[in-house]
Assembly symmetry: C2
Homo-oligomer: 189 residues x 2
């Protein structure tokens, strides 16, 4: 009587991940962030969605659990932000809505842009330990996207919930991707 | 290489919706809210998730576009709140990530409980015109759930974005369902 929603990564994502992780886990946080940013860039070139990429890693082994890209337009789903894809597919992979698996695992979300209001709200429910961001909200807004209304103390809010936040990592590279999207007149929604 | 996420309503939801709408659209807002609350109650009895129900209606014809129930535990998906299900399945049904369809349609979200921080952030992205809530955040927190950190002026924030907010409709009935869930020691997550 009612349709279902399926969120599925385009096949090019697996190809890109295989190449990026061919030599094993990405032990350096800059490498992990550059993977998220390259997903955001490739998402433009492939036409699969907005200029945003993310990935969930085990915070100790640095193994990739699941990547994510923005699929809002191609999936007809306003929730299909890169962070939501990465968190949700990681949960499917672990068959647990709590990525910490009741505190047994520490999990890191690496994202090419600071979370919007929805993704900010989703992060504590997913069982993350760490959030690492490249572009700032103002960089995303500068090309016309709306980040929504987060609490002004959103970083403190996550910290109080036991989630560390690192900002501005590889920010320049992420901003370059956003500006490329803007120049090629990608859809702003 | 990576799993997909499918969010699909349990079959009992269609049965309940067919019965509730057998005589045509629910023209009265209390009727629409009682449907959302009855979904929350039945979700407990069926064991499909937490005590939360929601539905998306056309705000002018009052036709039901899509219902939603909380499926966090059964779907292994922390995003699977009732509001997210209703908004996402309505978008699938209209094949548009913007439920307003570029301003041509006014859409109402009716929910048994005030939105958490994630759902608050998701609402503007979905293209809604109206939000109607039964239980308050404090009612949900009173049985142990966490609503997350919304901006203190969250109602004004939605109003500024052109989304009207009505609170406390059939609040007592929704609170009774929450308390039933609590007494039957439903999982709190």
């Amino acid at each position: 009587m009612f349709p279902s929603l399926t969120l599925e990564l385009p096949s090019w994502v697996s190809t890109q991940i295989e190449a990026a992780t061919a030599n094993g886990p990405l032990r350096n946080i800059e490498e992990r962030m550059l993977l998220a940013i390259e997903l955001s860039a490739q998402n433009i070139h492939e036409g699969s969605g907005g200029p945003f990429g993310a990935a969930i890693f085990d915070a100790d082994t640095h193994e990739l659990i699941a990547p994510g890209v923005n699929l809002v337009t191609s999936s007809h789903a306003s929730i299909a932000h890169a962070e939501i894809l990465a968190m949700s597919l990681a949960q499917q992979r672990l068959a647990d809505f709590d990525l910490s698996q009741q505190g047994k695992r520490r999990v890191e979300l690496v994202t090419s842009g600071e979370p919007c209001a929805m993704c900010f709200g989703a992060i504590p429910w997913a069982g993350l330990s760490q959030l690492v961001c490249a572009a700032r909200a103002e960089d995303v807004c500068a090309i016309g996207f709306d980040e929504g209304d987060k609490p002004l103390d959103w970083v403190d809010s996550l910290n109080r919930r036991g989630i560390s936040v690192q900002r501005d990592l590889c920010r320049d590279r992420a901003v370059a991707v956003l500006q490329e999207y803007s120049k090629t007149s990608g859809l702003i929604y």
